[in-house]
Symmetry: C2
Subunit: 280 residues, 2 copies
Amino acid sequence: MSMYHTHTYIINGDFDQSISPLDRGFTYGDGVFRTMLMRSGLPVAWPLHYQKLVADCAALGIVCPSADLLMADFLQLFSAQDIDSKKLDVAKIIISRGEGERGYKTPAITSPTRVVIRSAMPLYAKHYYSQGVQLHLCNTRLSKQAKLAGIKHLNCLDNILARMEWRDESIFDGLMLDQADNVIECTMSNIFARFGKVIVTPSLSECGVSGITRQRICNLAPVLNLTVEMAQLRLDRILQADELIICNSLYGVFQVYKINDTHWAQQNLAETLRSLLAHD
Amino acid sequence: MSMYHTHTYIINGDFDQSISPLDRGFTYGDGVFRTMLMRSGLPVAWPLHYQKLVADCAALGIVCPSADLLMADFLQLFSAQDIDSKKLDVAKIIISRGEGERGYKTPAITSPTRVVIRSAMPLYAKHYYSQGVQLHLCNTRLSKQAKLAGIKHLNCLDNILARMEWRDESIFDGLMLDQADNVIECTMSNIFARFGKVIVTPSLSECGVSGITRQRICNLAPVLNLTVEMAQLRLDRILQADELIICNSLYGVFQVYKINDTHWAQQNLAETLRSLLAHD
């Protein structure tokens, strides 16, 4: 059993299974994942998450489990009591290519491994909502790999090396650049920079993870009379933005108030978007 | 139990353990590995393999298990009968950072997961030894990440995508370039190009895996009056080499006789090196 008792998990629909060391998720990081906010035991923005899971699996040639199977897993992991409450939890789906022989060659017939892990909602400090969050500027650059760009896959060493750069608990996330000094994302968040009535989010055609909340914000922008641009975004430009926000599926949206020595005054785009997302 | 009965494995010294889905090897590819030739139940070139395992673990901030623990695992996986025979087998060591909470942040205290998998020696066709092997020129490029360059880590999607490019069984391995058209390695092999009395192997300072057999060949080259150069090596230059060889810990060394439409006559460097490696 796990040493982490705040987690429960189900593997291929079964509470008693475990992962084989021959699973290609373990041997090669050969798979994809999703992290989702669960409200009353049900995944928020599930159609978008499932659509993204299918697309990411397809990009790696993995057969994605049906939405019905995953929904059955949620119903097993989250009890009727959870569903009655308004409680927030976290669910993580991991789909690996499944077991294989030694070697990179993918088996002709594979049976993907499907894992759903339930964990507690992180506790975010109140001032993250009122004041915003501080970012570390990471020294670790994201690898450029067009064939994996946008995909939330299990090869996460770039993000881990970046996350190892700070232990200061006042820093919420780390801003990551690519090899050519373009801003791409944070270790666990996407980013938007507002310039007047335009919000710019980095193009993710060569690296980075294209998150669901980023997509939802792009869809919501017209409601706020904001135009979205996906473009190359250099560090010096982002530091001159009128406002900077980061997002992911768990916390929604936070304003950035500080990156190294650059500060931003408190503004209201993050709060407005959180409210829109909650009622979306 | 595994569906692959040609493999046996031991996890943290125990035949009955399995991998938790919270293991960071599974969730993030957060670990390293080694593939080794076992002769009479003992690892060939063990000091070099262990030294590389220690270095790769250190690069990721993972505490490497002691050589004694790994040797005890080998003794459990390979019986006295194996040791008496001259049989060849394969052992793969995987060291992951161990279990962790959700999120990239590495736990303050981790207990690495140590896996040793025993599998059968691949059967190589006789003509690989006499004639050489054919390579596919991969379309998938290796990601550039100086912080991971040289390390044999568990983030293998580049190699998997490259290996998915061919199903033709007459192709032995695939030649991989970096994003700037430099030749780096094959999906499961390092490469050397001979020009007269100089053998050139690609510099691995920005991507690629620095293998033990590559290192052994560099050490043996003076015996053959060959000079070793580690340098940038463009595809057009490699296609003009007098002789091309690839290497890994299992097959040792094979000559390359064909990449796409370029052919090489059979020569004897691969055979000479195989013989030297066997008596090294």
